[in-house]
Symmetry: C2
Subunit: 119 residues, 2 copies
């Protein structure tokens, strides 16, 4: 199994597995922001927000400016594109209820002879 | 913040944050399978696979048959559709390098007067 190659995706999914971090990304989708600006709408400490930002930064979901006193955070979309690419493989399963279709097919294959040629 | 309503999505992302669990889903995308069949290609114990299946089942990503001795696992696509819907909001950011465009716009707004009307 090519586990190592997929670690970036695991890191991305883990970073997204938190509603506050997803809300931070939604905020940054409207434009770059400082830690203080990001923290404003949340009922958590600035320290907690900083921790969330570090997780997002490690996952490559945000980048931070280099100016020491004003380090704006900015959304980086590439890891989200990888998520979209990954999940797109399963599109057929939810479009047209393919999982239900699959179940029906398996039932037929298991001997519930489907000899009547319905359309 | 409507945190509670988003917990299902957090559970889904957490379940997907593991390469073995994603590989199990890829296997199930080809058709339902028993725990033994699923475990075959992996270099982990049957017990470890069972644990992964429990995580996937709790996240609603798989369902298991009711027959006691042969409980086939089956992919359930709905949570993946939620992931696709969520990530689609950011499509504009990776299509056409929107994040880079945004950065450029911000730079211009910050007074690096862009008065020359380039095309």
């Amino acid at each position: 199994m090519p586990i190592a190659a997929q670690d970036q995706l695991s890191t991305t999914f883990a970073a997204l597995a938190d509603p506050t971090r997803r809300a931070i990304l939604a905020r940054l989708a409207t434009g770059e922001a400082t830690v203080n600006e990001i923290a404003e709408p949340f009922e958590v400490s600035l320290q907690a927000v900083s921790k969330h930002l570090k997780v997002l930064e490690r996952a490559g979901l945000i980048t931070r400016g280099r100016t020491a006193q004003w380090r704006p955070c900015r959304l980086t979309a590439e890891p989200l594109e990888d998520v979209a690419d990954w999940v797109a493989r399963y599109r057929a399963f939810w479009e047209a209820g393919f999982d239900r279709l699959d179940r029906r097919l398996q039932e037929i294959q298991k001997g519930q002879t489907g000899e009547d040629d319905e359309r």
